[in-house]
Symmetry: C2
Subunit: 458 residues, 2 copies
């Protein structure tokens, strides 16, 4: 039996162990945005370093950053003639609110049918564990086909504020031939997918200040401008009637979709019906002249992620609020620069904000969009791995989400990333009742085993 | 010494007792909107009924309603030849949030200089106590000059949902010649004020529903309409560029300000500088063609009292929210009908809301505006009482706040209300650090003593 077959056989006979690993990791509430979970972040990093050590990885380290630590490890057992794959993952998860909409406790993983429900099950602890399970299978089979390095960060869900300095500082340690990033997803459980482009991100908190404190809306309403109304006016003005973003210069550097790309995107099963069914929205909307798949994958957008002002409890309070806040984020496409987008937002606010209020913004996250070579040897290795696991050729997709590390690694390390992952569109990531589809996750482990042997030409 | 002089002398020599009464009442956290304070509402009603009993009032009752109870009492000692004054007050207070902006605990009354800081000190427990102190002085002097009835409700700050049915049910019990309502305020501590018109209110919660649950803004942003953006669009559309409200028909029944009223309003010291200084707003705004005093007193307005959607915590969460909520209230002037305004809002929403979302509204409060006869004998009695206490003639004012009971009593009991009160514009009512200016409050007690004798022609 060759090593590939041994590895696949090992995976097949150790599903119970693999599942235990998954459950053990998702139990830790590693919410990176919440100061009260700082201890859980450290605990998760320790869990991963112990796991990597037990897999036979060397030089395992929990490395400090300005925020949550990075877990590093490496294995040079394949030898210098073999390529090195840098395996990226993040061990932090999104907050769980609104907690009352969860049907099972978010950090008590619960299997219902083919799905495991838990925060982080899909995004992306499940993907990290699939990769580690594949590596366990490869290591148990002996003679690993590629060299490996690991970079598991704890700040992806808060915009990876310390990752770029970390990669810059440890450029030599992280040197590799290609990065493997399993933080993407599949179209559906029957359709394996390679993601070749991702959107970037520019995320802001906008605060509007009016009177020095909350006022009685009867005694002052009509004479004092209401910051919540000003905020609504400013947000409303950020789109035109074609649902294009109005920030000055926003589209100047947007790379147009090629005819070929539009044909490829049209082949994806991302139809209007698909989006309606996935989301339950009463009807779709979007930038004029583009299909839903193009709007999500290939066009920049502006969304309001949160609003807060005045009295929001039960009943009524006749307050004219002193303050109104919006979380506003733009998804960017190549070749938009997130720092230029910040300047565009500032220019918009300077032009449109009336003198009756003051405004402030905080930049909470900035990341470039990325687009990769679909003919890279590692990409081909993954395409063939997915085909081996699912029996059909994968689709090529532009993903609407943001994985800034892909652009950062391209820029700093000079390497492309192979983007895949085994989450599904109905996994409720970033929402209540996040789940992982276990049969897809198991096939994904097999695809990753194939990938390592394909890329190592074994 | 005549009875009036005896009463004034009694008041002068019992300031310590009067102050103790005030502190005792404001200590009780009677927040009507908060279910956890239900017991405190009952406690406050009991406090008032005990106080009325000790003043020699008869037929003292805590009367049930569909919500918090009404405290009733009466005193017919003046005899049938004398008029009967129905004294209105409310014993509930506004919520205290944002609690962290209070410099002293809201329910631990704290005197700093001439001011007493506490929730309800000005709105309106201080006014209720001033009235009871005046009545104590009158009763101690003997031979009360007028008959009295009392109606103290516990739901004014939540829109008095049970008051109209109560007044209708107890129309005979409440029969009177005029109502005294000390829930208004003064321009400043040197300028006694008679309020002859009040704005009405139509208060709504508007909810916008989009996708069935919160979505990942990367995976769906651009294809699914964002309910927070839709809410902003709808709010932005509710004013035109002259800051007029755009709800269809909103101005159809608005009674124009007469030339005489505009002259009177221009005499009030409610200048632009006054509003800027009171509020700390960077600049004023308002409906084109009107002064600030006209905008607040004589023109209808629309304000957003609260906004909530998506993620509002520290940091970033890349969510496309399923839901967005606004508290929206209109201040109305004669002769707008709050129920017609609800229909206008519904018509606006039906016309403007895109098919990409669903909307719902809840009517949280509805009250008519009111305008009174400034030559009523009771009004003249109060004008002279204020002049006796302050040494100058009071100003006539249209108030921007809402006291729906004034219109309700006119309609159901057929009586005008005399509106006065001794709160000041910088009392921070409905806001953190509410306070009462004690020297003004003491003069107010004297003015009320004069009112009772003036109106009884003693």
């Amino acid at each position: 039996m060759d090593t590939r077959s041994k590895a696949l056989e090992y995976a097949n006979s150790h599903q119970k162990l693999f599942m235990d690993n998954l459950i053990s990791l998702v139990r830790i509430p590693s919410v990176s945005t919440a100061p009260e979970h700082k201890g859980d972040m450290q605990k998760t990093a320790e869990w991963l370093s112990e796991r990597l050590t037990s897999l036979g990885m060397k030089n395992v380290q929990i490395m400090p950053t300005g925020g949550h630590p990075v877990v590093f490890a490496e294995c040079k057992a394949a030898g210098e003639t073999k390529p090195t794959v840098l395996i990226y993952g993040h061990y932090d998860v999104q907050p769980v609110d609104p907690i009352d909409l969860w049907k099972t406790p978010p950090f008590e993983p619960t299997q219902i049918g083919d799905n495991l429900f838990a925060r982080g099950a899909s995004d992306m602890k499940g993907q990290v564990i699939a990769t580690l399970n594949a590596i366990e299978s490869v290591m148990q089979a002996g003679d690993p086909p590629v060299n490996m390095k690991f970079i598991f960060e704890g700040e992806e869900e808060i915009g990876s504020p310390n990752l770029v300095p970390f990669i810059e500082k440890h450029k030599d340690l992280l040197a590799c031939d290609v990065a493997l990033n399993p933080d993407s997803g599949m179209i559906d459980d029957k359709t394996p997918t390679i993601t070749y482009a991702l959107r970037g991100m520019a995320y802001f908190e906008l605060r509007i200040y009016g009177p020095k404190q909350d006022l009685h809306s009867g005694l002052f309403g009509g004479a004092v401008h209401n910051p919540a109304v000003v905020l609504a006016d400013l947000i409303a003005g950020m789109h035109d009637d074609q649902w294009r973003v109005t920030l000055p210069g926003f589209y100047d550097k947007v790379r147009s979709l090629s005819d070929q790309e539009r044909i490829e995107l049209a082949r994806l099963p991302l139809t209007e019906d698909y989006y309606l069914q996935q989301t339950g929205a009463p009807a779709l909307y979007g930038e004029a002249g583009y299909t839903p798949a193009e709007r999500v994958g290939g066009r920049p957008t502006l969304d309001v992620n949160g609003l807060l002002s005045g009295f929001t409890g039960v009943g009524s309070k006749t307050v004219l609020p002193a303050y109104a806040m919006a979380k506003i984020s733009m998804r960017l496409v190549p070749d938009q620069n997130p720092h230029e987008v910040e300047k565009q937002l500032i220019a918009y606010l300077n032009e449109k904000t009336p003198p009756t209020v003051r405004w402030e913004i905080t930049n909470l996250s900035a990341g470039w969009a990325s687009i990769s070579d679909i003919n890279h040897p590692a990409t081909r290795a993954m395409v063939e791995g997915l085909e081996a696991a699912w029996g059909i050729k994968p689709l090529y997709k532009r993903d609407g989400g943001s994985v800034p590390v892909v652009a950062d690694m391209q820029r700093i390390l000079g390497v492309d990333s192979v983007l895949t992952g085994f989450g599904l569109a109905d996994d409720n990531i970033h929402a209540p009742n996040e789940k992982l589809h276990l049969p897809t996750w198991q096939k994904g482990t097999n695809a990753l085993i194939h990938f390592f042997y394909n890329y190592g030409n074994v």
